[in-house]
Amino acid sequence: MSGYIEAQLIILCLSIIYAYGIFLPAASGQLNLGAAGFITLGAYASAWFNASTGAELPMWLSIPLAMIFTGIIAFAISFPILRTRGVYMVLATFAFAEVVSGVAINLEFVGGAAGFPVDDHADVTVIVPVTIAVILFSFYFMSTRLGLSLRSIHDDESVATLFGVNVRTSKVVAFTVGAMLMSLGGSLYGHHYNYIEAQTFNVLLSIYILLYVLMGGTQTAWGPLIGATFFAVVPEALREIAESAGLKWLAEGRFILFGVFIVLLMVFRSEGVMTRTLQDRLGGGLFRRKKPIADDMAGGS
């Protein structure tokens, strides 16, 4: 594998992991603009658990420990954060990420503003299998009754409650598990590049991850995979194509096209690329046991 392709693959894998972390709460309608915060927590925690100046644990222990650490923090803050709704939640998670970044910059034992070197190295043979595991886990998670509850909460919280769904518990679980996935992605980032600084995990990163998820679609587990792949691959591919074809304007302006695409997607397919109905239609016949019963009431009002 060429170095260039490998580098792109790593970026793609990390984007996918981050996106699933944002997707799980988004599937229940919670918009989390704090991805950078949880990624920072994971990256720094794993780096410290791993570092010779820290706990000196091997990477395979430091990463899960970082996930648990992030999970505990996410669980604790999920209760106040989930009091907020809509645009308030977007802003509160954004504020949380800024707070985390502010803390990381000021902690001298993890390097402070100068950044923090990470010891153990995770190469593509670690990151790709972990990414596949994350994808499979997310598909499983969304296929469970808990996943069904999350999707119901997204659609109509009060009706979900009346059918026995414990709305708050479900939301807390989605938020916490999502944070742990982002933590995993953050640790892998640190162990791959072997150097982290809080400024890398900025609001732009949070925005892009939320965009992957909303553009891919929040209804099925395909959404983040499609969204992240599309975002990570298409601009890069466009650059390659444009440069080899000598289209300088396209290479430079590809992000303009990209922005136009986002705007148009929201106009024509506002629920994202992949929806539940599209999934059913594509997978039709595969899981369908029998044809829909001919319905004599189909002509009703």
């Binding site: 988004a26 229940s28 309608g29 919670q30 918009l31 106040p80 954060i81 009091r83 907020t84 809509g86 645009v87 308030y88 977007v90 802003l91 509160a92 954004f94 504020a95 949380f96 800024e98 707070v99 970044s101 502010g102 803390v103 910059i105 000021n106 503003a113 909460i153 997204h154 659609d155 109509d156 919280e157 609001v203 732009l204 925005i207 965009l211 909303l214 553009m215 929040t218 304007w249 430079e252 302006g253 992000f255 303009i256 990209f258 922005g259 136009v260 695409f261 986002i262 705007v263 929201m266 106009v267 506002s270």
Partner: protein
């Protein structure tokens, strides 16, 4: 004395944020959505002001030079920035709001305009990068470095003018909201969208007006930014937006006067804390406070909301 000087500088910096914070708060109050085209419009206006003044527009430089001469090209800059931003605002309204009718009333529908507005942010930033490059662009101020001092505190004339101007604009805006027919319609929509429609407020006509108003607020703010700080780039909106959002949250979402006080306060706090403890440390207390406010007192520090939170 240095502290007072820093306070003055902070107040001036806050003056730039104020209008952006008011723009954010107006859109959230009226349409219940966090509009990320606001930093884009701010930045675009600042860059247009620079480009017109310095003769770096993609076209029309000679025409402007022949009409205004080198001396008054800043006037042309103001006109170009205001007109372009007003037109662009109408386009943005079409694509972030007009097609985004709630279909199912589910929990993520309110995010659709947010996503489109991020699309616009990307478009404008890269439009500027591909036209003018990503390096900082430096303009020469048409007013020189006029300063005067009281005792030992130095005041910059353009900064004072900007601060006064932004306060005047915002006061006019809030008078407009209170006293005019348009203002009453706007508030009716913000407070009781359903009733407003029943009462015959034409929502489809009012929303573009809101967009143009907020667009012009951003434009004025961006123009003043170029005049004061002389250096702009494609990403200048992002930083300003972060601070303006902080000011808005502090004042309570949808509260115009809250946004003004919040914006000025955050500006001063920023300058002061950089002066006292360093820029990196400042983030923590500011955003910590905002997080607590958002969760436990979402109406902001002043409690009462001038224009309510609503959506159509």
């Amino acid at each position: 004395m240095l502290i007072i000087q820093q306070l003055v500088n902070g107040l001036m910096l806050g003056g730039v944020y104020v209008m952006v914070a008011v723009a954010f708060t107006l859109i959230i109050g009226m349409l219940n959505f966090l509009n990320f085209t606001i930093p884009a419009l701010f930045m675009f206006a600042a860059v247009l002001m620079y480009a017109t003044m310095m003769g770096h527009l993609p076209f029309g430089n000679d025409l402007i030079l022949s009409v205004f001469g080198t001396e008054y090209r800043w006037v042309a800059g103001i006109i170009v920035a205001l007109v372009v931003i007003a037109l662009v605002s109408l386009v943005i309204e079409r694509f972030t709001y007009r097609y985004m009718k709630a279909k199912y009333g589910d929990a993520t529908e309110h995010a659709l305009p947010l996503v489109s507005s991020l699309g616009f942010l990307i478009i404008f930033e890269h439009l500027v990068v591909s036209t003018w490059g990503s390096d900082p662009l430096t303009a020469t101020s048409p007013f020189g470095q006029g300063t005067f001092s009281i005792d030992t505190i130095i005041f910059s004339v353009p900064q004072i003018v900007s601060l006064v101007l932004s306060l005047v604009v915002v006061v006019m805006l809030s008078v407009m909201l209170k006293a005019t027919k348009l203002g009453r319609a706007l508030r009716a929509i913000a407070e009781r969208p359903d009733t407003a429609i029943l009462m015959g407020v034409e929502v489809s006509r009012i929303v573009p007006v809101v967009y143009v108003i907020t667009g012009l607020l951003c434009a004025v703010s961006g123009i003043l930014f170029t005049i004061n700080y002389a250096t702009v780039d494609a990403y200048v909106g992002d930083t300003v937006a972060t601070v303006a959002i902080a000011g808005m949250v502090l004042g309570g979402l949808g509260n115009v006067w809250g946004a003004i006080i919040g914006g000025l306060f955050i500006g001063m706090l920023e300058v002061m804390s950089i002066y006292i403890v360093g820029a990196d440390f400042a983030k923590l207390p500011i955003w910590g406070l905002l997080l607590v406010l958002l969760v436990f007192k979402p109406t902001g520090l002043f409690g009462h909301t001038l224009i309510g939170k609503g959506k159509f």
